[in-house]
């Protein structure tokens, strides 16, 4: 097996997605099949290859240090599920 229930559970937690037991069961089976398929990559010898993370041969794309207009604050917070005095509001975070 390429992936088990505990790994799916751990991964879902990393991704911050709550799964029901049923979903967990279901996804574990499906992901295991997908990973079994993907396993065919292991038949290739890739040790001498560079990974392609950017397909174009591009480099050094910059902008100048120039200040541009920011968004009006009304536009910033208009989509917010919860807000207070132009600030985004979330459940209390306990730091200390």
């Amino acid at each position: 097996m390429a992936i088990n229930r505990d790994t799916v559970k751990y991964t879902a937690n990393l991704a911050r997605i709550e799964l029901s037991d049923k979903e967990l069961e279901h996804f574990t089976g499906q992901l295991d099949r997908i990973l079994a398929y993907v396993d065919k990559l292991n038949t290739l010898n890739v040790s001498d290859l560079e990974p392609t993370s950017h397909v174009l041969d591009m480099k050094n794309v910059y902008r100048d240090d120039v200040v541009k207009k920011s968004l009006p604050v009304a536009d910033v917070i208009k989509n917010a599920p919860s807000k207070e005095n132009n600030l985004f509001k979330v459940p209390k975070i306990i730091e200390t």
Binding site: L14, R16, S53, H54, L56, M58, K59, N60, V61, Y62, R63, D64, D65, V66, V67, K68, K69, S70, L71, V73, V76, I77, E84, N85, N86, L87, F88, K89, V90, P91, K92, I93, I94, E95, T96
Partner: protein
């Protein structure tokens, strides 16, 4: 048991670009919440980052100053984690191809030896290795209320330079010296405000203890939440004691993150449970990689300002300052600039250094002002020193005059006339004053005549008092001796 303290520091520095690292929003401090944000720094769906060239330049400048090897190819990576101050769910940072690596920074360490009465402090140079320097984006700011937390994203996207040292510091004092030396260099480079209170400079520390003979490092704790260099030192001192106490009781150190509580002066474990980190770094597909062209680096190198270490050596050589004086003066760039300006106006740099480190610093300290805000033109200070040399005023008068100049902002020449502070060299006036003093202090006069040479100093002092410090002390001395000898 003898333990060795092992400390490594991680400094986060806001670079003083005008606009943010990946978008055009302003980096000004203190604006109304969420007014310096745009789709890019808010991480709105569909927005994309474009690198601010200036941020890379400033990062390269710091790397050069810290003697690092700058990478030929650099790349940005995504550091993935969830936190409400991180709008995209990832921070654009650098993982395995950072801006620069393998640097070093020198600190001057004092080693005391001998017993307390004949204690000798050796000043030796110690090199702290810099592991890496990388560029990343700052996060938003959280405000905690009773039942909720609020987020302001103005700070989000300000360029941050992370400077990570090797665990080369062996005492809280060394950590403090490292930070001071680092700050001094950063100020010379003019790349950041370096203000810990405004969080433009932040510092986290890793600390562990090990038995002197051990090669393996002990279990470390990470200390956060210090808001001054002294706070860093105090936190590390506390943490050293705490860890030592545990080890001596045969207990184990738990690897954890602890927050420094400034009010209580203690470190406390973070209450929120930290999960094992799995940041899933991968190359940021939205940014093309960067190759440092030689010409780009050369132009930065060409524009590098003189750094404190170099300046110190030059001051010793060119101005014949002692290593100690030069060290104090160059530790702050504004002070060094001030000194050099004065030195261009007045020919005895050693005297400038004495006054600067003595009376000027004392005034600054008492009144809590920096040299930048001090109301003392370089031409006034050097003018005043020249007037001492030419005998217009006495050194004693100069001490009070200096404060008058600072407080009124007036030209020293004018002040001397207004207040009548010129030195009295007129022999007749001085003779009259000495006569009076001898008459009023017959006992001391007698003592001198009987061979008690010290007594003359008392009489000179009395004459100075009578003339409000304006008498030329050498002349007074001469007149007194003549008069008393003549009587004898």
């Amino acid at each position: 048991m003898d333990y060795e303290i092992v400390i490594g520091l991680e400094v986060h520095l806001q670079l003083n670009t005008k606009s943010k690292v990946f978008c055009g929003c302003s980096t000004d401090f203190g604006s109304a919440p969420n007014t310096q944000v745009c789709p890019v720094c808010l991480g709105f769906p569909g927005s994309l980052p474009v690198l601010n060239r200036r941020a890379l330049e400033l990062g390269a400048k710091v790397s050069i100053a810290l003697n690092c090897q700058i990478a030929e190819k650099i790349r940005f990576d995504r550091k993935n984690y969830f936190y409400p101050d991180l709008p995209k769910g990832y921070q654009i940072s650098q993982f395995d191809q950072p801006l620069a690596q393998h640097g070093k920074l020198s600190i001057i360490v004092g080693n005391s030896r001998g017993r307390s009465l004949q204690k000798i402090v050796d000043k030796t140079e110690k090199k702290i290795r810099i592991r890496r320097v990388h560029l990343e984006e700052d996060t938003g700011k959280l405000f905690h209320q009773k039942d909720s937390s609020l987020i302001d994203f103005n700070r989000c996207g300000i360029p941050l330079l992370e400077i990570v040292s090797e665990p080369d510091m062996n005492s809280p004092e060394e950590a403090y010296l490292y930070l001071t030396a680092l700050k001094s260099i950063l100020e010379y480079l003019d790349v950041s405000d370096c203000n810990m209170e405004e969080a433009s400079l932040r510092c986290d520390a890793n600390i562990s203890l090990r038995k002197k003979a051990d090669k393996k490092l002990g279990t470390k704790t990470e200390i956060k939440n210090m808001n001054s260099f002294k706070g860093v030192k105090a936190a590390l001192e506390y943490e050293t004691k705490r860890q030592m106490g545990l080890l001596e009781d045969g207990k184990r150190i738990i690897q954890e993150t602890r927050l420094y509580n400034t009010e209580k002066g203690v470190t406390e474990p973070m209450r929120s449970k930290e999960e094992a980190h799995d940041y899933r770094y991968f190359p940021e597909p939205d940014l093309a990689p960067f190759n440092f062209e030689k010409s780009f680096l050369k132009s930065i190198e060409k524009n590098m300002p003189e750094l404190p270490e170099h300046k110190k050596n030059r001051f010793i050589k060119d101005y014949q300052l002692s290593g100690y004086d030069a060290g104090i003066i160059v530790s702050d760039k504004n002070t060094a600039d001030y000194f050099e300006k004065c030195a261009s106006l007045y020919s005895n740099p050693k005297t400038i250094a004495n006054w600067l480190i003595g009376d000027v610093f004392a005034y600054m300290k008492a009144n809590n002002v920096s040299i930048k805000d001090l109301n003392l033109k370089e031409s006034y200070l050097s003018g005043m020193l020249r007037m001492i040399d030419s005998g217009v005023i006495t050194g004693k008068v100069a001490k009070t005059l200096l404060i008058e100049i600072i407080q009124t902002g007036k030209d020293p020449g004018k002040l001397i006339k207004e207040k009548g502070l010129e030195q009295i060299s007129d022999v007749k006036l001085l003779e009259a004053a000495t006569d009076q003093v001898i008459a009023e202090n017959p006992k001391s006069a007698e003592d001198f005549k009987n061979g008690k040479d010290n007594a003359i100093m008392f009489l000179v002092g009395k004459v100075m008092q009578k003339t409000k410090g304006r008498a030329d002390p050498n002349k007074v001395n001469e007149i007194l001796r003549n008069k008393l000898k003549g009587d004898a």
